[in-house]
Assembly symmetry: C2
Homo-oligomer: 218 residues x 2
Amino acid sequence: MTIVITAFERSPDGGKGLARDTRVRWALEEVGRPYEVRFVSLRAMKEPAHLRLHPFGQIPTYEEGGLALFETGAIVLHLAQIHAGLLPDDADARARAIAWMFAALNTVEPPILDLAVARLAEGDRPWAGQRLPLVEDRIRQRLAQLATRLGRTEWLDGGFSAGDLMMVSVLLRLRPSGLLDEFPRLAAYVARGEARPAYLRAFAAQWAVNAVIEPQAV
Amino acid sequence: MTIVITAFERSPDGGKGLARDTRVRWALEEVGRPYEVRFVSLRAMKEPAHLRLHPFGQIPTYEEGGLALFETGAIVLHLAQIHAGLLPDDADARARAIAWMFAALNTVEPPILDLAVARLAEGDRPWAGQRLPLVEDRIRQRLAQLATRLGRTEWLDGGFSAGDLMMVSVLLRLRPSGLLDEFPRLAAYVARGEARPAYLRAFAAQWAVNAVIEPQAV
């Protein structure tokens, strides 16, 4: 059955690959599934037709036959569970790889999302300049813990998994801030993720859509 | 094999049930698995022995035989996948229930966590009073979308699932703020979750540990 995902008609990042459809494209490329993309405008994302697919009015969504999913983590996990390539075969190792997916989304990403809030949503508020260092320090705390755990290994737990896909995708959001480069092991880890052929194909596909747009600072 | 989870030796919420071990206790009760608890002090959470189990120095963790997991979402999902009671049998319905788990943790919880940051971590900053309404409005936006999707149904997608367990647990954090009561359908949804016998047992178990502690404002 044909897989259809949704993506921004015009990504706010102008093709940097930080919109969440890139994570789903990457997973689809890793498991070797072709897919189609339906582009959605910022206005259409808040209209009933899209809200039926995604109750929070975001992208990406995933449709295949009678199944409709939202939430990037759920889509990537679904693909990882029904195809080979993103989770190890051993049951315990699978559970640990999934734990890293949740860690990326629920422990590492929230302080990183707060950076976007501090810079964009609250960037013109009088406290923006004073607050930014606090937000950055909360991110540094998580990055230091992650770098310690990663140590000198290539991936978080054995071979590349959906946990690495999600963690690399979350960390990528930090590159424009310079915070990632404060942790050379993490910067190298992200670079290993970006060098994967599946990532390169996913990045190129979203770039082809968005590169004509003037990028905005993130 | 014996299941061992970790929990705060003294929960910062004094027994309100908002520490994340309650989510795991609830899942264990729903699937009918007995468990043991190892209590960890705030200091021990940051020491090497615990960091080997949880790289970010938090609770809960989960150990069963040779498997060690961290991240509440991963632990609950693991239990839901290997036992009956928390996920539907139909494959598509399972994927949708898992999507609600991710939605709870990655879309609804981040702005709620930001409220704790605004009140506790930044509560003494000069901008605290002015910033709080912005944080609350971001939460209201998510709650309104969630209330719309829930509509007049009992649970988010068919019968009670791990998605509801996680969403109710996330929304519970809001009760002290009064925000939950602005959305009567969500308040009723949370109350349905709290009325489940498995939740009541989980709450009582954490209460028995923490109720002697003087509660702090959250």
